[in-house]
Structures are given as C-alpha cells and as structure tokens.
C-alpha cells in the first residue's frame, strides 16, 4: 500500500464540478495553501472544478488560498463559522453581489457536525444556538430539563488537508495549532488528500503520536516548506500572480 502521490496536480485531479470540498485550517494555520493553488491552476487550465461547496472555518484572507479560490469563481456555497478576517474583501464582495451562498454554523457545531460525519452519527443534540436565529427550522428537544437543538452530520466528497509528517500508509501528525479542523475533515470525506511537509517511512511517526490514523487518508503529497497564509498576505501576495 502506497498512498504517496507524485505531485500536487495529481493530488487534485479527481475533484469534480459541484463537489463538496472540506478545506482544513483555522485562518492560515493548517491551511493547505499549495493544494488550493493547485486546484486553482486546474480550474484556470480546464474550467473545472466549479460550483464547489466549500467547508472551512473562515472565508479566506487577502488574495491567496481560500480567498483566491473564491476570487477565481469556483465556489458556489461556503459553510463556515466566521467569514471575517484582516482582509476579507474577496468573500465580502462576492457575498454582497449574491455570487456566493453562505451557511453560517457556530464553530463548535461545525466541528462536531464534521466529526459526526466521519463517525457515522447522522444527528446529535447540542445546547449551542438554542433560542437564536441559527437554530431556526431545526428540531428542538428537552433532555433533563434543558432545551437542545438537533444538528446533522456534515460529509464531503473530498477533504484538502495540511499535516506535518505523513507516511505511505496515510498516518499523519500536525504542527501545533495547525491541527484544528484537519483531523476531523480527514474522517468526514470520501477522499482525503493531504499535503505534508515530509513523507517519512512507516514508523517514522511514533505510534503514540499519530493524530490521524491512515484509514482516514487516501492520498499524501509532499510539499516541503509550505507557505503560511499570513506570510503571503503580509507580503501582499496575489494568486495567481498574473491576476495582480
């Protein structure tokens, strides 16, 4: 078994129009910038994929990564908790123009819905959002005298994930708070594609410190020294550069 992929173009080859794509990261930490840019490259070359539904905590920052994906016109709908950032101009303009649909989900509910999708739990109850606009239309039930909102699982066709180390079996470790949504999205997607800073031999990650066991991963591509979204934005980067 060898889940290693030769390059980024191969890694994003199977993503089709209309798919739901989970993209890891919280702001820039743990964001798979290179995978996203490879997907944009494919769209610019072929016109596909488009009409994507993207799941991410945020809505991109500046003109790289997720913001660039939106700016390229590939995203029909965004499911996120916090579509604000230091420079949210791309999403904000698309949203105000009615060019992108937004499903706003409380952050903990978003995380739990994704985990539920990966764990085979079609629905669960949470106190979060009870009595608020974000609970509208959702079933409510009382347990032990307290009201709860029923939330549904969230699954994806593909997850694009950033990890630190990976092996050919798909075992992964992360780097600090770059972990965030990434391990959950690995669980919830039919096909999980991971960029790692280094591919190591099986056993190269301590079995006690494997965060994502390989069963949740379908492909691993090595991207040494990956870009950080914040560094790109501080430098005023735009992707693709030609669009600047």
């Amino acid at each position: 078994m060898d889940k290693a992929l030769p390059d980024l173009a191969t890694a994003v080859a199977g993503i089709d129009d209309g798919m739901t794509v989970m993209i890891g990261g919280f702001g820039g930490s743990g964001a798979p910038i290179e995978l996203i840019h490879a997907l944009i490259d494919r769209f610019l070359a072929t016109g596909h994929p488009k009409d994507l539904t993207v799941v991410n905590n945020n809505a991109g920052n500046g003109h790289v990564g997720l913001a660039a994906l939106i700016e390229a016109g590939m995203v029909r709908k965004l499911i996120c908790s916090f579509p604000r950032s230091a420079d949210p101009v791309v999403f904000t303009e698309a949203y105000r123009a009615g060019a992108i649909e937004l499903e706003l989900v409380p952050q903990g509910t978003l995380a739990e819905r994704i985990r539920a999708g990966g764990a085979g739990i079609p629905a669960f109850y949470t106190p979060t959002s009870f009595g608020t606009d974000l609970a509208q239309g959702k079933p409510v039930a009382e347990f032990e005298g307290r009201p709860y909102v029923q939330e549904r699982w969230l699954k994806a066709d593909v997850a694009l994930v950033k990890a630190h180390l990976g092996d050919r079996l798909g075992n992964l470790s992360y780097r600090m708070a770059g972990r965030n949504f990434n391990p959950l999205m690995c669980m919830a997607a039919a096909r999980t594609i991971v960029q790692v800073s280094q591919i190591v031999e099986p056993g190269g990650i301590d079995p006690e410190a494997v965060v994502t066991p390989g069963i949740f991963v379908q492909g691993v591509v090595e991207v040494p020294n990956p870009a950080q979204e914040e560094d790109l934005n501080l430098a005023g980067a735009v992707y693709p550069e030609a669009a600047a």
Binding site: R115, G203, I215
Partner: protein, 226 residues
C-alpha cells in the same frame, strides 16, 4: 491439494475468506475463527487490521513469553507492533467502524437469514449476555462477511429464512463463507457462488434453511489442505 473434503475446517474457511481481501484493505476480524483469516493473506497483499480496542496495523502474535499486556486485540490476545501501527481511543476506533471506513468485517454467526439479518451475540435468555463490538461492526464496514459452519453441531441449518435468536443486526451480512459454500446475500436472497465439488446442489439445499438462488455459474470451492 487432494480430493475435496466433506467439509472445510476453520483454517480452510479462513483461507477462502482471505482470498477475497484486496491489497490495502482495512479489515476487522471477529474474535475466534475469523481471527485466523490474517494468517492466510495471499503473498503480495498487505491488508491493514483494525481492532476495536484502539490499534490499526498491528502484527501477528508474539512468541510465548514475549507478550506485552498493553498490546492486545479485542479478544484480549497479545499482538505485536509493525512499522506504521497507530494507537487511538475507543471513540475514534468506533468512528472508524460506524463511519464506514472499514472495507471488510468478518464475524462468526449463530444464524444468518436470507434478509441479511445476523444473530451472533446471544443464545437466548439463559446465561450472561455479552455483545462487545458486534452490533457496531455490522454497521459501517463496506462488506460484512460471516465465517461459519454451514450447520450447527446438531446438523440444523445456520443459514435460515428468518433468525430465531436475538439479532445482532438487520440486513447487514453481504457474504457467507461456510464450511460447504460461498454465498452472497443480496436483495433478500441467498445467491450461491461456490460450493464443494463433491456436494450436489440438492444436498447443499437440504442443509440450508432458505432457498439458494443461482445468478450465473457456481464455481467449485477449492481450498488447500490446512
């Protein structure tokens, strides 16, 4: 290989089941006979074995005296590490099971119905009931296979129209490796795929509690001596 025996022994059933496990498959083997499947992986194939108690990709049993009792499988038997083994807690382990991430689960059975219903956890109100992970395993794995003698020790069919014992799961079994045949469970019917060459279809049907349907040719069930 010699002449086909009257019925397969457990090693031979396990061997036959192992032939259907693809390279790279994620597999959970139930306690007892199904555990033997791991021994018969065809050369060149590398399945990854999952155990409910939180290990993926473990190796074979250690030599006697080399056991580490923190490194056991769901049957509480000692196993070993392999490069790429991963540990995780029980909720993550059953996320793998329930979330549809396993390719194959192979379980034992008291009864399997043509509906795919399985009974394998309770022989009735007598005795102490114990379910373990069986009810979880029958949901989620892409293939739920059963490894079982074709009939009980008393000669009664274990493959039946409707289970009489308490159910483990409804409409969950997809394939049966019995001591006499390989049978798919599909659309509420038993579909015969392979049978021992020395056994007529009529004789096999007589030992089966529900109709065996044919859907294409029936191959000979051929296994090595084990």
């Amino acid at each position: 290989m010699k002449l086909t025996p009257i019925k397969l022994n457990p090693s031979q059933m396990a061997w036959r089941a192992a032939q259907d496990i693809a390279d790279g498959a994620y597999v959970n083997l139930g306690i007892g006979f199904p555990e033997m499947v791991a021994k018969f992986q065809p050369p060149g194939r590398e399945a990854i074995f999952h155990t409910e108690n939180g290990i993926l990709g473990f190796g074979a049993a250690p030599a006697p005296g080399e056991e580490d009792w923190d490194l056991i499988n769901a049957g509480k038997k000692a196993v070993t590490l392999k490069p790429g083994t991963a540990f995780f807690h029980h909720a993550d382990s059953f996320a793998m099971v329930r979330g549809g991430h396993l390719d194959v689960a192979i379980l034992g059975a008291y009864e399997v119905a043509e509906t795919g219903d399985l009974a394998n956890w309770s022989t009735g109100p007598k005795g102490v009931p114990a379910v373990g992970g069986a009810m979880d395993l029958v949901h989620g794995a892409k293939q739920v296979a059963v490894l079982t003698d074709h009939v009980t020790k008393d000669g009664k069919p274990k493959l039946v129209q409707r289970c009489t014992l308490p159910l483990t799961g409804v409409a969950c079994v997809t394939r049966i490796y019995s001591s006499l045949a390989v049978i798919d469970v599909s659309g509420g019917r038993f579909v015969l795929r392979e049978k021992l060459a020395g056994l007529s279809l009529d004789d096999l049907q007589a030992l089966t509690g529900a109709t065996l349907h044919l859907d294409g040719p029936v191959a000979d069930l051929i296994v090595p001596e084990l």
